[in-house]
């Protein structure tokens, strides 16, 4: 996987500059004896930064009314404690309509605070495009990400926009090993808004519940095609707003895609 290594090095190089700017300079002390330090010898073992770019979902999602291509990715670079994250989720309608959205595009600093949990903080960007107006906004993010007991992968974020609107999202997923390579992954997601933001179709309160079920086959760890289904149900004020627009509040899709990382 030389190309992968090369790519990750390039991405890594770009990000490490950012990382250096963000991170407080670590103390240079390590376990070396003063004897060896005086001689200027390199330490016997040291920390090397690593990185990974995960395309968690790249899928074709066929629904009753429209089909879309969805993308979700998470990339990180850094050490064991401090990492720079870039995360994003997007959707582009390719059939039965037009338009799409960058639901979030986040640049985050993450810090390991306990064996399984990292806090993340940073900035992000959201955009909806065509038909009609193309609203966008920037926001600040504070997140918690990690592995909950019983091996649930959890990612939750609080976002506050430049206009002062706040909302929180929560996502959990679980890997069921049917065999060593065949993995069934249920997902749950929800979003709660503290303020109504009409241009994004966001009502106050619980906005939606998203459920997904994906069955992937890990041809290798880095590359796993999958099929699945998803169901996104809008709730409360958000559902009312959708109805007013003449949209359905429930959206069921059949999926086919690939999960891969470099």
């Amino acid at each position: 996987m030389n190309t992968n290594r090369h790519l990750s090095k390039t991405v890594g190089g770009l990000l490490s500059a950012t990382l250096l700017a963000v991170m407080p300079l670590a103390a240079m002390a390590d376990g070396q004896a003063p004897f060896a330090v005086e001689k200027g010898w390199a330490p016997p073992v040291g920390d090397v930064p690593h990185g990974r770019f995960l395309i968690d979902r790249l899928e074709y999602a066929a629904g009753d009314d429209e089909d879309s291509v969805n993308l979700e990715f998470k990339g990180w670079y850094g050490g064991d404690y401090n990492r720079i994250w870039i995360e994003g989720e997007a959707e582009d309608v390719v059939s039965g309509g037009s338009g799409g959205a960058i639901e979030n595009l986040d640049l985050l600093y993450g810090r390991l605070i306990s064996p399984y949990w990292s806090v993340q903080a940073g900035v992000g960007y959201q955009l909806e495009y065509g038909p009609g107006p193309d609203p966008d906004r920037g926001y600040a993010v504070l997140g918690l990400q990690g592995l909950a007991p019983y091996w649930f992968e959890v990612d939750t974020n609080l976002r506050v926009s430049e206009d002062g609107d706040a909302w929180a999202d929560f996502e959990a997923e679980y890997d069921f090993l049917l065999t060593q390579k065949l993995v069934l992954q249920p997902r749950f997601g929800t979003m709660v808004a503290f303020d109504e933001v009409e241009e994004f179709g966001v009502g106050q309160g619980i906005n939606n519940v998203k459920l997904g079920l994906r069955l992937r086959y890990e041809i290798k760890r880095e590359f796993a095609p999958y099929v699945g289904v998803s169901w996104n149900k809008k709730l409360g004020d958000t559902a009312d707003m959708a109805k007013d627009e003449g949209e359905d509040t429930g959206d069921f899709r059949v999926l086919a895609g690939v999960r891969m990382w470099f």
């Binding site: 376990g31 070396q32 592995l147």
Partner: protein, 641 residues
């Protein structure tokens, strides 16, 4: 001429000191004999020695470190070689003499050689960044030191991940005095794990994708099987326990047969390394685990193996059918092949994901049956350090009905089958409370039963019985995903997936007994407690939750002091812990006759102790010998001053 005479130099006749044979001519003869390509490294039959030159009271060796394209298991590889082979040639030094080794580095990177288990001036120990700077490309470094010990050892690079690439070999120190056992022929059996991946990619995979190489995780099928066998509620209780801890009971080895080809003397099972014998001979096998990440279970089906040395040190002979060898450990065993033409030397990876195999045979080309693969074991609650400590429930050596044993309190949970009771912190069953010796009639519930009871008689008290261990104010911080609340004595436990029975004896650390007390009779004046810690999710490995990059300076030993080093395993993995420059006298049941080791394997949930005499001034490496654990930070410097 008898065919065995043509083999001198491979199987070493002890009575024939044919030295300074140019190994090339021997090799040439062998290649003709075995009909194999020289590109394979070691010959198919026998061993391969380095040329020894004699200069007065000094033995001189010349080693060249280089990349050499060759075939491993029939596939093209480009390993790092010592004098052109993997493993490097066996270096035969002599006790009581000096040695001078010129190491020429033909790589395009720095290198080094560490003489594993040899006591020497620290400047000669060969650890870059600790004892010297290393050997630059196109440079030569000259090691020189006196040999004050005998036995089987090994050498390997201590630079980067070079060990994974083939940079290792056997080191034998021939004794000045005759050894207390007899043999007719001896062979090195060097076990190792080869991958065709770049070791830096292996490390990265471990760092960024937990469980990358584990294709033996629990699946839905295992769950259903458990429910069938144990019932719904017991299965759910167990699953809940593992789930709460976010641990896998199938996390046995980090790097597995999914990428590794396991080798004996550089040869895969297909390339079948062979040790020749004449029926009736006593064959000494010097089994060295030179692998980067693999524990092996070693047996020669059909033959009893008598363990005579461990880590180069004589022990009271123990006949066994199988033994587990941790990375960097060394076991010398004697086998007496008799009627049969061929026997398999079988070394199965601890996680059962693969094996190394060779043959003992009366002629090259013979093979014997390879044992069927055993099922993948799962770790039990004892691995969590929750109190099942010296109580491996599958251990056939456990003799609860021993009439010599008086139990002061039987209420301490005789229901060993009920795992939930083991979770209550029930001290009575930990096997920690051996202080009362054979007869334990104290009223304290902790009196318990001594499961490690020596059938032959008395047993030394375990120094860690009732010890209050400390995990620090924060349970070692984010670098430690778990702590063992109640680690125990597992010296009588052969380890995960092994069971010792009267029909199939498996070696345990409690079997190891020195032939005579070691020179320093003092009791320890000071104790140093270190916890083995890790976080699998981020592949962080450390002592006391702090990686090498996080601690400030070395561990201090005072020159001349007598120490007790206490190791507490707060992880789900077995760790082979290696101290350079000084012996660790493992405190098992044999009191003053405790065995002396350079590498001690510590099981999950286990606590062990060793006495150390800090008689070697200087700076020494102390680390987990799993290569990628060391690389990830499980490393300390010990300064003796």
């Amino acid at each position: 001429m008898d065919q065995y005479d043509t083999l001198t130099g491979k199987g070493h006749s002890r009575r024939r000191f044919l030295r300074n044979v140019t190994s090339m001519s021997v090799l040439a003869a062998l290649y003709g004999y075995g009909g194999i390509r020289p590109a394979l490294g070691w010959p198919q039959a026998g061993n391969h020695d380095a040329v020894r030159e004699v200069d007065g009271d000094t033995d001189v060796f010349n080693l060249v470190i280089d990349r050499t394209p060759m075939e491993i298991d029939g596939k093209p590889a480009n390993p790092i070689t010592v004098n052109g082979t993997v493993p490097g040639p066996a270096i035969r030094m002599r006790e009581g003499r000096n040695v001078r080794i010129r190491v020429q580095n033909k790589l395009d990177e720095w290198t080094s050689i560490h003489w594993h288990g040899i006591l020497l001036p620290f400047q000669m120990d060969g650890v870059p960044g600790v004892t010297f700077e290393g050997i630059p490309p196109n440079d030569t470094f000259e090691y020189h030191y006196p040999l004050k010990q005998a036995g089987t050892y090994w050498y390997h690079s201590h630079s980067g991940l070079q060990e994974q690439l083939g940079h290792y070999g056997p080191l034998i120190v021939e004794p000045a005095e005759p050894e207390p056992f007899d043999y007719d022929r001896d062979y090195v059996v060097m076990l190792s794990d080869w991958t065709f991946e770049d070791p830096h990619d292996v490390f990265r995979n471990l760092k960024v994708a937990e469980g990358y190489y584990n294709y033996q995780k629990r699946t839905v099928e295992d769950l259903l099987e458990d429910i069938r066998q144990k019932g719904w509620s017991q299965t759910m209780r167990e699953r809940a326990m593992w789930g709460e801890m976010r641990m896998s009971s199938r996390d046995l080895l980090d790097v597995t047969g999914s990428t590794y080809t396991y080798l004996i003397n550089g040869r895969s099972p297909n390339d079948n390394w062979t040790g020749l014998f004449k029926p009736g001979e006593k064959i000494r096998l010097r089994v060295i685990n030179g692998s980067a990440m693999s524990f092996f279970d070693v047996s020669v089906p059909g033959l009893k193996m008598t363990v005579v040395q461990v880590d180069g040190q004589n022990v009271e002979p123990v006949p066994v059918d199988e033994f587990r060898i941790g990375v960097a450990e060394i076991y010398d065993v004697i086998v007496e092949p008799d009627d049969q033409q061929a026997y398999t030397i079988f070394a199965e990876a601890m996680d059962r994901s693969g094996f190394a195999a060779g043959t003992l045979a009366t002629e090259v080309g013979l093979t014997a049956e390879i044992p069927a693969p055993r099922p993948v074991p799962s770790r039990g609650m004892e691995a969590m350090g929750m109190d099942m400590g010296g109580m491996d429930m599958g251990n056939g050596d456990m003799e609860m009905g021993n009439g010599d044993m008086e139990m002061g309190d039987q209420s301490g949970g005789m229901d060993m089958g009920d795992q939930s009771s083991g979770m209550q912190g029930d001290q009575g069953m930990t096997g920690q409370s051996s202080h009362a010796g054979m007869v334990m009639n104290n009223d304290d519930a902790k009196g318990g039963m001594d499961m490690a009871m020596d059938k032959s008689g008395g047993k030394a008290p375990w120094p860690l019985a009732d010890r209050d261990i400390s995990h620090g104010p924060d349970d070692h911080g984010p670098g430690a995903a778990m702590v063992a609340r109640n680690p125990g004595n597992r010296l009588n436990d052969p380890g995960i997936g092994l069971k010792s029975t009267p029909e199939h004896k498996v070696l345990v650390y409690d079997d190891l007994k020195a032939l005579a007390p070691w020179p320093d009779p003092r009791e320890p004046e000071r104790e140093i407690e270190l916890h083995l810690t890790g976080n699998m999710e981020r592949y962080m490995w450390s002592f006391d939750g702090e990686k090498f990059s996080e601690v400030d300076g070395p561990i201090q030993f005072h020159h001349g002091e007598r120490l007790r080093l206490i190791l507490v395993n707060d992880t789900m993995m077995d760790h082979p812990i290696h101290l350079h420059g000084m012996w660790m006298e493992l405190e098992n049941q044999h009191g003053d006759l405790r065995p002396r080791k350079h590498t001690i394997s510590v099981k999950p949930g286990e606590m062990v102790s060793a006495r150390i005499t800090a008689d070697a001034p200087g700076h020494w490496a102390f680390h987990c010998h799993l290569l990628y654990h060391m690389k990830a930070g499980m490393f300390r410097v010990v300064s003796v001053a």
